[in-house]
Point group: C6
Chain length 207, copies 6
């Protein structure tokens, strides 16, 4: 993100899209256990992004489960799903989220062994060293397995999409409430957010 | 584009082709909602291009929809479709447009998740760093998925082609009118264009 | 081409093959509308080439049609077809023509969208920049599409081959006439050529 | 591993997961003949790792059998299996073990000829030398064989997984005992470990 | 080739193999029209080669036919066929000939359009420039076409093999005669060779 | 190999494995005609190797047959087969032999034309030159042919494995005798070896 820009540069329409988008993120995150609390939502643009949703920073955590990853990916798709629900289609504003979601999904399948393919790590790990630097990678698996990996990645994304989709649909009125407040105030802090959604968000790490 | 060249260097035939081509662009753009207004059409060559059609510049816009992209792609194919309608075949003058249309179509499918393949990002993103620079990319998806991507890209282009085709066919008389004026005057500004097509072009961003 | 070499270095047999070859080019070019007039044919070797056929130089032309390309490709295959007709097989003297014909055919299909595959551009365009230079290209289409492209390229070449083949066969006596004159005089200028073929060659650009 | 960190930085939950994880390793290693004795288990974090299980260092040994490798791989999967048994799913804390297990499995199949594919070595051995360094490798086998290799690697991992899985399930009470002690004491030396499991661990090399 | 080595370094057995090998070359070359006359055969080793068969040097010839190439390839396989006929199997002494034959066969199919695939050139011609040098090539055809090319290359080699095979078998007594002389004299010049085979060898270029 | 190490560093078990391994090599070599005589066997480790079997050095020989290669490959697999026969499985001590055997098998099929695929050379010979060095290779054959090559390589290895296997099984008592002596004396010279196997080994080159 870059420095804040006055939001009047966003056209009214864009402001509305950005608000639903961020509200979508926040709503999905706060609806699924296993994600850190939302602490701030804003549609004041920073650099490239039209807005942002911040969660409480994780402690340095070496142990994440597939459940947590799926929640994360669903949250990332929250903006995309909200746009689709309200406007009938998505905008390129969601493409960065999609990229991160896809990357996470691929890691989940290829590096963490968290798919039906089992506890095997698939890497592009035959790295060559050239003048002390890596210059080339080569898959260490066949085209056949590459297709299986693609299928599992698709499953992960579709499952997370379904989760996020159902949440924004089922809790549409909450979505509208958060959006309305965002458009008015441009920024919502954690306390106010918890008032809107009507509950406190527990940290997953304080037990 | 380069500096203007006197149009008498274009042979009479080429001038005619260029005029229909640019008229095709302008006609398609102005017939589909979701594109910025045409503000100038010209067949005075600049550098490589035989002519050009300029739209009102977009504001810095982070949020484009698939509908807008399809309109853009259809507009890009407007020159090609006009040439084919009038002359029975296309010329290489359209190849730059085709390249841009194909590139946009590929981005739409691979980076923006705007195809039936869903909200997955397909990248050539396993980039290696070499002496601080990237030197190699490798697909992060299988041959099977590559074929699916190709199919969706083909769908996008065919759909846009159909749109543009129907417009130039259905509105052929308008096409002729714009072309005739272009051949006479060589340049048409926005106001005159709107007179010819008989309506004002709304900006998609002023609401 | 390099400096002229005295033709007595070509053996009598080679001289005959070269003459039929160039005559084949000239005959096909002048038999198909859409190509520039032949202005000079010679079997005085230059550098690597055993002879050459020169056409009137095109004006700087940004707009070529598929019809014109097919004519060009057929012309390029004229030498090969003449050799085959007269001698029963081709010689390596035609291989440069074949390379150029294949290159043109591939461009026609991949870059100009002039095949049944439609207005899609297939590129090896994911170029990487390394130290300011490109070092790698990667197809941006699947193996499946690569096979479809190959098929269309084959169609283009076969179609052009058929055209050129039929011309040299059907007009064999003209072929013999041109060849006989070439062997005698070693060079034929445009005027004399038009006398032999019995008609003037119109420029495609002077209208 | 890095310097020790005070374990109170691990949350109570993470400490529990780490304890079961290391106990899993230790239990599997000590249950299968062909592995060196466990000499120390700890959940005091070092650098990235949440804990560690140390075996008696092998003597420099040039001769390892498939049986020994399978035992090693099963041991590596011991942590993953324990997490799954107790918590229902794995954490990313096991991903390093999975990477090592996969690497070993691939070497077993490709370099040591220890699979049904037989005594053939499959390499990425067509290395090119560039400025005295290797810069590129190319498989020296076909895509078909790559798929066969993948299948055998999968077999190895699945077999080892089954072994480790059954051990932690069958000997669950032992697993709990080791874990409980680890949580209390944070470190268990060899002698105490052998007390818990009720037997001495023979070295495979002292005969 | 390198400087001559005294042939007594070749064991008696090797000398015999080398003699049959060179005799095979010479016999096939002189039995097929379309090849230049054999002017010298020797089993005095030079560098790596166990012997050599020299033909009259071609004049600078830009026009070679498929017939001539097939004769050349058959000639190259003459040594291999002789070894197989007499000894039941080939030796590595023939591997350089095989490499040259294969290379020629591939050029014939891919560059000269002299196969049933037709007058299409298949190249590895998408060369990239790196620091002014080419660093990478990429096939400009699909895997499907690669398989078709392989099939045609195989056809060319098999056909040439058949030709050479039949010659050495049918003319075995001549083969023996040439070999016997070679073993005795170590070198045979053109005149003596023509005496042995009982005819003069016409140059293909003196007409 | 590196400097000799005192064998007491090898454990008693490893010493036994190494002895059977080297005995296996020696037994197979000496049982098949077409290989040079064994002149020394030792289980005194040198560097990485647990032992070694030396043959009489070949004279510089340009002419090797498939028969000789198959004998060589079988000999290389002799250690592996002995380990399997006696201990039920192989150790990593054989992996270097396997690598050399595979390499030889691939050369036999791809470079020497000594397989049912015929006298065709398959190369990774489209080498590019970069700053005077080669930097990249590309197969000059299709994936389909790559699979055929793999099949033939497999055939070669399996055939050699069968040969070596039957020898060590059929002549097991000899294997035991050689091993016993090796364990006692650590080194066996040619003369003693010929006493054990009961015959002299003829050189293949002294005729």
């Amino acid at each position: 993100m870059g420095p804040e820009r006055k939001s009047h540069i966003l056209s009214k329409k864009e402001k509305e899209i950005a608000a639903y988008h961020e509200a979508g993120h926040a709503l999905v995150y706060s609806s699924i256990p296993g994600t850190e609390p939302v602490r701030k939502i804003s549609i004041i643009s920073r650099g490239m992004a039209g807005g942002y949703t911040l969660q409480v920073p994780s402690e340095e955590n070496r142990m994440r489960t597939k459940t947590q990853f799926m929640a994360e990916i669903a949250g990332l798709l929250g903006g995309y799903c909200a746009e689709r629900l309200i406007f009938g289609e998505m905008t390129t504003g969601a493409s960065n989220d999609l990229a991160r979601a896809s990357e996470l999904a691929r890691r989940l399948v290829k590096e963490y062994g968290m798919s039906p393919l089992g506890p095997i790590v698939f890497g592009d790990t035959n790295e060559m060293v050239f003048l002390g630097r890596e210059i080339s990678e080569q898959r260490n698996y066949s085209e056949k397995v590459a297709a299986e990996i693609d299928k599992e990645v698709e499953q992960v994304i579709k499952s997370a999409e379904k989760t996020a989709s159902e949440i924004v649909k089922r809790r549409k009125s909450l979505l509208e409430k958060i959006t309305k407040t965002l458009i008015e105030k441009e920024t919502i802090e954690r306390e106010e957010f918890e008032k809107i959604i009507g509950k406190k968000q527990p940290s997953i790490y304080k037990e």
